[in-house]
């Protein structure tokens, strides 16, 4: 899958979980500090990415991902 396609899907999941419709999201945006994800939303993001891409991510490594761009790169390893 192309990186751009991954990014589009990642943004879709972020929008659904964090309710960011209409917000411009950049690759450097931090899930917690910029997008306001709390602990439970962080789990939802992991679950959302797994479902969207039909993958199973390494649980502890997935929680290390902090930015949107890093999420795209991380997921790219699995698809």
């Amino acid at each position: 899958m192309e990186r751009n396609d991954i990014k589009t899907k990642v943004l879709k999941v972020i929008s659904e979980v964090l309710d960011t419709e209409g917000v411009v999201i950049g690759e450097d945006d931090n899930f917690v500090f910029d997008l306001g994800a709390d602990s439970m939303q962080s789990l939802q993001l992991v679950a959302g990415f797994e479902e969207e891409f039909n993958i199973e991510m390494d649980e502890d490594k997935a929680l290390e991902v902090q930015t949107v761009g890093a999420a795209v790169d991380f997921i790219a390893q699995y698809v």
Binding site: M40, A47, E56
Partner: protein
């Protein structure tokens, strides 16, 4: 002790020192009695005195010369040197040596009493039906049976008889103030017994109670305390204006700062400050520190109440008859609210206000929050939080009980058969819900709570991580204490000694197979257990056999859940268990480390360096909070990860070198 009448010269001396008595023949003395240390004392009834010729060394304060000064003493036996001064009325007591009683208005035993023993407490359900009789040997486990095994009416009747029999033995018209006790600056005390080195200082009023202090673990009642119908056990401290009515204060418990409680039980190492407790069953390590926190009609243990935690047991229908159950290790967030009846799974965190009834007991380590107006469960999330890990490590370290006779039986293990069974069931339920729920559905409902469909699979995975960690960890724990050099030998030493393979229960700290508890209840019913002391011994046996019970359950569960039968397992299967343990133990630790890292992130720095720029903020933060890499908890977890790697490598190598039957004796097996 042999007593004699006073001599004329002794009476003359006492009279000259302001003493008074209607009938001096009723004042009897022992040994080389010397009246020099008795001034302004009035005696009434039968009073027995021993020589006052030594210093008194009470449990608290500097030694004092013994003697009786400005006091009224009626029907008392003073068995050794004591210091009694400014006591308005002292009546009906046997007073042992080294006791100090000073500035007390009234200290009396007025009528036959059991000193608080046998007081009936309406615990858990204010409407009644779960009454517990308190006494000075009451353990969390006996109270658990009494309160919660009402489905065994014969056992309850018999248990009640055992307790009443014990309390009958405590019945007396004479109290005891045991050696080394110190009672001072108190207004009124009525029908209270004092154990060795009990310290009562500044209390306002104590009635119908026992302060079961011991040499090794003195109990302390402090300033402004008002207590009626109570038992305070060794090492406990009740002070600073606490108000207790019908309460048991267990070993090592701290109650104070104007906390008030009625009809409540506080077992080992509980802490109650500022707030209020009503019909509370506070199992070991229940802690509530804040004003406006009310714990009512609930069962708790290893619990931490956030400020303003509150529950309702009244739905304005038939009365306050609802009850709640928070299994061990739960926390409630600030201003959280629960509407009883409710049952919360072990090691869960409750945040927000919940006005629906739910049962999450099949999902330990969960978060319960309010999302979109719904009580929402996030299962397994608390498995990998710093708090859970830190709590499980701190409880054993914070056991304040110094008394060698520890009443409450407490297992501290985070992962026990009880909890692991729950995780297995929780996993199964999440899997089933996942398979049954269409993707379009946002939430699923389960026993009164909502769970985000998206999280069903993920949360199940988290339980699986913990389970794999547990399976390998138990194996290693067993292997470490045993020697073997062949595969057959290995299988042999892993055979369980016990046969209990069924479900477990958490009896307010004691973890045991339900079948074992059932055997104990049968033994109570059929009269095998005839005295409270025997019941305690049976419970202790269950406590001490924890490891063997656990292993029997583990062997059975491992085969059922993974297909690995310990008795026939191959080298490969043993190695796989260890490799799975390594991967998942490290994974869980890494997730906890990620959680710890949040304590050092940008959000945690808000409010630091208030009058400066970013550099000041950094400097302020690093000086106050330190750095992630230098944090003691973080370092210990990182070190543990290294140890896990090494241990797994060592055991894998050892297992790989095992002599199989083929290698040991090839011709025989050919």
């Amino acid at each position: 002790m042999k007593y004699r009448n006073l001599t004329d010269s002794e009476i003359t001396a006492l009279l000259s020192q302001g003493c008074f008595c209607d009938d001096w023949t009723a004042v009897r003395v022992s040994g080389p009695f010397n009246p020099a240390h008795i001034h302004s004392a009035r005696f009434e009834g039968t009073v027995k005195l021993c020589p006052m010729n030594q210093e008194v060394a009470p449990g608290e304060g500097a030694p004092k010369p013994s003697g009786l000064y400005s006091c009224y003493i009626k029907d008392c036996e003073i068995q050794g040197p004591v210091y009694i001064s400014q006591v308005g009325r002292l009546e009906g007591y046997t007073i042992e040596k080294d006791v100090r009683i000073e500035n007390v208005s009234s200290l009396v035993v007025e009528s036959p009493t059991a000193f608080g023993n046998g007081t009936e407490i309406e615990v858990l359900n204010e409407g009644g039906g779960r009454e517990v009789l308190i006494f000075d040997q009451l353990t969390a486990q006996i109270a658990y049976l009494m309160a919660n095994y009402r489905h065994e009416p014969e056992m309850i009747v018999r248990l009640k008889e055992l307790i009443q029999d014990y309390c009958q033995r405590k019945q007396s018209d004479r109290g005891v103030i045991q050696s080394g006790a110190s009672i001072r600056d108190v207004q009124t005390i009525r029908n209270v017994n004092f154990g060795p080195k009990a310290l009562v200082s500044g209390a306002q009023s104590l009635e119908e109670g026992t302060i079961s202090s011991t040499e090794a673990a003195p109990a302390h009642i402090g300033e402004g305390v008002i207590a009626k119908h109570f038992i305070v056990l060794s090492g406990a401290q009740v002070d600073s204006g606490a108000i207790l009515d019908k309460c048991l204060v267990g070993q090592g418990v701290r109650i104070g700062k104007q906390f008030s409680a009625e009809n409540s039980l506080f077992f080992a190492n509980c802490e109650g400050f500022h707030g209020e407790a009503v019909s509370l069953f506070a199992g070991p390590y229940t802690v509530t520190h804040h004003k406006s926190s009310l714990l009512i009609a609930g069962m708790f243990s290893f619990f931490n109440a956030g400020s303003g935690s509150n529950q309702s047991n009244h739905m304005y229908k038939l009365g306050p008859l609802h009850q709640g159950w928070l299994e061990r290790g739960c926390k409630t967030g600030s201003f959280s609210y629960l509407l009883w009846p409710c049952r919360i799974g072990a090691f869960s965190v409750v945040m927000d206000k919940h006005s629906s009834n739910f049962d999450t007991s099949e999902f330990p380590f969960s978060y319960i929050t309010l999302e979109d107006g719904k009580s929402t469960l996030t299962p397994a999330m608390n498995l990998f939080t710093v708090g859970t890990r830190r709590d499980s490590e701190k409880w054993p370290r914070r056991d304040r009980r110094k008394d060698p006779d520890k009443l409450d039986l407490i297992h501290f293990e985070l992962f026990s058969p009880y909890i692991v069974t729950k995780m297995i069931r929780g996993s199964e339920i999440l899997q089933k819900l996942y398979e049954e729920t269409p993707k379009e559905q946002k939430y699923v409902k389960y026993k009164g709570v909502s769970i985000l469909r998206l999280l069903l699979k993920t949360c199940r995975k988290y339980y699986q991580i913990a389970l794999k960690k547990y399976y390998g960890e138990q194996l290693l724990k067993r292997l470490e204490s045993r020697s073997f050099d062949t595969l057959a030998g290995l299988r042999e030493i892993l055979q369980p000694q016990e046969t209990y393979t069924g479900d477990w229960a958490d009896m307010a700290g004691l973890l045991a197979p339900r079948a074992v508890i059932q055997e104990i209840t049968e033994a109570i019913k059929d009269g095998q257990i005839k005295r409270i002391e025997q019941l305690r011994a049976r419970l202790k046996m269950a406590y001490e056999n924890y490891e063997e019970y656990t292993w029997a359950w583990y062997v059975h569960t491992l085969e059922r859940e993974t297909g690995t039968a310990i008795g026939q397992a191959t080298q490969g299967q043993f190695i796989e268990l260890i490799q799975d343990w390594k991967a998942n133990a490290a994974k869980l630790n890494n997730m906890i480390l990620k959680d710890a890292e949040k304590e050092f992130d940008q959000n945690s720095r808000i409010g630091f360096g208030v009058d400066g720029d970013e550099e000041v903020k950094e400097s302020d933060f690093s000086r106050v909070r330190g750095a992630y890499d230098g944090n003691e908890f973080v370092r210990s977890l990182q070190a543990e990860n290294e140890a896990i790697e090494k241990k797994a490598a060592d055991w894998t190598a050892r297992l790989e070198q095992l002599l199989t039957p083929e290698i040991r004796n090839p011709s025989k097996d050919r």
